[in-house]
């Protein structure tokens, strides 16, 4: 078990644990914070997969923006912080069953899958960030998805504002 594996396991367990916490805690803010921990875990995973730019992007985008947005939303909609009853709806058992089945299915498939034990080929020079930049804007590579993403973001931006705009006191 090399150092790397140990680190991997530690972080994996940490992230999964916090993911479980995300799903089970009653208090929403704690949920958000646990989510942030999961996101950090995943950023570390990206770093381990030597996708540096993605790791940092993950931090900036998820933790920097989305997590904070979530927290904002939680605070805005928390008139009755401690709602009565459990934080799970009536058919949570079905939820467990389905997710377990899904996980079991995926696990089986992954275990039987031939390409399971591929070792990571060595990575070439550090210029991956520039490649991403070039790939995003090169016409025959990913210009179109990039443009679509920008349009999508714009639409989401305007849509969110419009939907959440409080009509009463314009």
């Amino acid at each position: 078990m090399s150092v790397e594996m140990i680190i991997f396991l530690i972080i994996a367990v940490a992230t999964l644990g916090s993911a479980l916490m995300v799903v089970t805690t009653k208090n929403l803010v704690h949920m958000a914070l646990w989510l942030i921990v999961v996101l950090l875990g995943i950023a570390i995973f990206f770093a381990m997969l030597s996708a540096g730019f993605l790791a940092v992007a993950q931090v900036v985008i998820y933790i920097g923006a989305i997590a904070i947005l979530l927290i904002f939303a939680i605070m805005l909609t928390q008139r009755t912080t401690q709602e009565a009853g459990s934080s799970f709806n009536s058919n949570w058992r079905w939820g467990i069953l389905v997710s377990l089945i899904l996980f079991a299915g995926l696990f089986i498939i992954l275990v039987n899958w031939s390409g399971i034990s591929t070792t990571p080929p060595n990575l070439d020079s550090r210029a991956s960030v520039a490649d991403i930049g070039v790939a995003l804007v090169e016409p025959n590579a990913f210009l179109l998805p990039f443009e679509f993403a920008s349009v999508l973001l714009l639409a989401a931006l305007i849509g969110a504002i419009y939907v959440a705009w409080d009509r009463r006191k314009v």
Partner: protein, 102 residues
């Protein structure tokens, strides 16, 4: 060395946890967080495949970036919706938002 399956299994686990969250949480924002978890699991998968299967091309990474964009816009719009529902209905418990029932 860490093999690809580890990452995939981790991502699968994360995905299922997210799924459970989505399926069984009462609060809408909790559902949204569940979805975030699932999206991140997908991202991990993508980057893992990129790293292990085909590091030469950066399609995996670009795809992950696109998933970032989608996730971000999804959260933004979702939360906007929840806020406006909250303003009108006074609650964002998924069960109570069931106007579409027969």
């Amino acid at each position: 060395m860490i093999s690809l399956s580890w990452y995939l299994i981790f991502a699968a686990a994360l995905f299922c946890i997210g799924l459970f969250g989505v399926l069984s949480r009462k609060n809408a924002i909790a559902i949204l967080m569940g979805i975030e978890l699932m999206l991140n699991a997908v991202n991990v998968n993508l980057v893992a495949f990129w790293r292990y299967v085909n590091p030469g091309q950066i399609t995996g990474q670009v795809f992950a970036i696109i998933v970032f964009a989608v996730a971000a816009s999804e959260v933004a719009v979702g939360l906007a919706l929840f806020i406006s529902i909250y303003r009108r209905r006074g609650t964002i418990a998924a069960d109570e938002i069931d106007l579409m029932k027969w």
